[in-house]
C-alpha cells in the first residue's frame, strides 16, 4: 500500500423499499423487454425510435410501479404504457398507418370457401416446412390493424379484453379482425407453400 494509512469507507444502501421496488421491477418487468421491443419496432418502424420508446416506457413504468397491482398481467400493463408513450410522443412524427377498406378485405377472404380447398391444405406438416422468415414476412406485410391483433393475441398471448384496451376498440372488433387476419394469413401461407411445391398451385394437395 502506498499510503501509510487508509480511510475506511462504508457503503450506505438506498432506502430498503426503493431497493425492493427495483428488485421486483427487475423480476417482473424486465423479462418482457424483448416483447416490448419487438412491438415497438412494429409501431415506430425504426430501431433507434424503438430503443427510445422502450426505454421511455420502462422509465415511466418504474415511476408508477408502486401503483401496479401485483398479480395482474405486467406485460399488458407495460404494453399499455408503451402505447400511451407512443401516442404522446412518437405518433405525431411517424407516418399514419394505411387506411383499410374492411369490406374489401372481407369480400376477398370470404371467397376462401371449403369447396375450393382440399383437406390436405389443413395439415400442419405442410406449413412446418415453410421458413420462419416467410411466416414473419407474411404477418409483417399485413395492414397495421390486422397485424396488431395477430401479434398481440397469437404471439404475445393477450386476451381479447387486453387487446381491446390496447387498441381502443370493442372486444367484438378484436375478434372480427383476428378472424379475418388469420384467414389472410392462411391465404398467404398457401401461396408460399405452393411456391415451394408443397401444394399444387391450383389449390389441390399432393398425395
Amino acid at each position: 500500500m502506498f499510503f501509510p494509512f487508509t480511510f475506511n469507507f462504508t457503503i450506505v444502501t438506498a432506502d430498503k423499499n426503493q431497493r425492493q421496488l427495483y428488485e421486483d421491477f427487475e423480476r417482473e418487468a424486465i423479462p418482457h423487454l424483448d416483447a416490448l421491443y419487438n412491438f415497438a419496432l412494429i409501431m415506430t418502424r425504426d430501431t433507434d425510435d424503438a430503443d427510445d420508446l422502450v426505454q421511455e416506457t420502462y422509465l415511466r413504468a418504474f415511476r408508477f410501479f408502486d401503483k401496479f397491482e401485483r398479480g395482474t398481467n405486467c406485460k399488458a400493463w407495460l404494453f399499455r404504457i408503451m402505447k400511451n408513450t407512443f401516442i404522446n410522443k412518437y405518433r405525431k412524427e411517424t407516418k399514419e398507418p394505411d387506411k383499410i377498406d374492411y369490406e374489401e378485405v372481407k369480400n376477398f377472404y370470404e371467397n376462401e370457401k371449403p369447396s375450393s380447398t382440399e383437406s390436405a391444405h389443413l395439415e400442419k406438416d405442410i406449413y412446418d416446412n415453410l421458413l420462419d422468415d416467410e411466416l414473419s414476412e407474411a404477418i409483417n406485410s399485413f395492414p397495421e390493424d390486422f397485424k396488431t391483433v395477430v401479434l398481440l393475441c397469437d404471439i404475445e398471448g393477450f386476451t381479447y379484453e387486453e387487446i381491446a384496451d390496447f387498441i381502443d376498440v370493442p372486444v367484438g372488433t378484436v375478434r372480427s379482425r383476428l378472424y379475418r387476419a388469420r384467414k389472410m394469413l392462411f391465404t398467404k401461407l398457401q401461396k408460399y407453400a405452393a411456391e415451394r411445391g408443397l401444394i399444387r398451385r391450383d389449390g389441390t394437395g399432393y398425395e
Partner: protein, 276 residues
Amino acid sequence: MNKELITAFIDNEIRDDSLKEEIRHLIDTDKEYWFEYQVQLLVKRIAKEKYKKSSAPGHLKIRILNQIAPDQKIYEPHKETSIWAGLFSKPAFSFATAILIVVSIVLILFNRTPQQPPEISEEQLTPDNMFYQAENNFKAIVQGKLSPQLLTGDPEKIKSFFESSGVKYSALVPTFAEWSLIGAVVSEDKEEKFAHHVYAGKKGEIVYVFQVDESYLKSREIISLNDNLLQYLEQGNCFVKTEKDKVLLFKKINHNICVVVSNAPVQEVQNNFCNI
C-alpha cells in the same frame, strides 16, 4: 351463427358454456364450420411457432437498468476510523502528524523509481491470452452478443453465483458510486470456470471485469498473460492501456489478476480500480 365465434372459441374467449357446446356441435357436424375451425387453429399454431421476434439489443437492457437503479452507492466515512485518522482529532498531534506524513510521502515519492509499463505486442495476443479474451468479450457485450447470465445489482448474489457455478477462486465484486452493478457471466474453458461481471455508467458506459486466480496464469494451461505484464502486476502496479474507444486496465487484487475493459472515461476507471 357468426363464424367469428369460432375464432373466439379457439382463443378460449367464450364464457357461456351452452354457446361453447353449440359451437363444438357445429364444428362436428357442419363442413363449413369445421373448415373455419381448422383454418383458424392451424394459423394460430403456425404463427406462434414460426413468427420471428426481434430481440432487444443488449445495451438497451443495461441502459434501462442503469437509469432506474436506486443510488445505493453513496460513500461516507466509516464510524470506526483507523488509528491514523484518530491522530488528527487530537489537537496536540494534528499539525505535527500532518507535517510528518506529508514529508514522508514526499520522500517516498522522490526515492521511488517508477517502473516502466511493459509493451504489449500484437503477436503476443493469442486466443488463450487474457488480454485478448477480455477485449473480445467486451466487444461482444457492447454489441449485445454477450448478456449477463445473472442480472442483479447485488454483489453478494454475484459472488454466490460464481461460487455455485463452479468458479474455484474467490472473486472480488466491488461497488462504485459512478457505476451500477448489472450482472455476471461464468465462462468455461477446459472444464475450469471463470468469473466475469459488468457495471454500467449513468450514460450507458460499460465496465467489464474479468478476473482469474494468478495460479491459472502461472501454469499457462488454460489461460495466459504476457510474462512482463504479469511481473509488472505482481509488483503491485496498475497497467493501463488506452485505445480510441476504450480503456484496458490490469491490476492484481488479492490473489486475482483482474482485467477491466471499459468505454468509461479513463480517469474514472483508473481511479476506481488502481486504488483498490
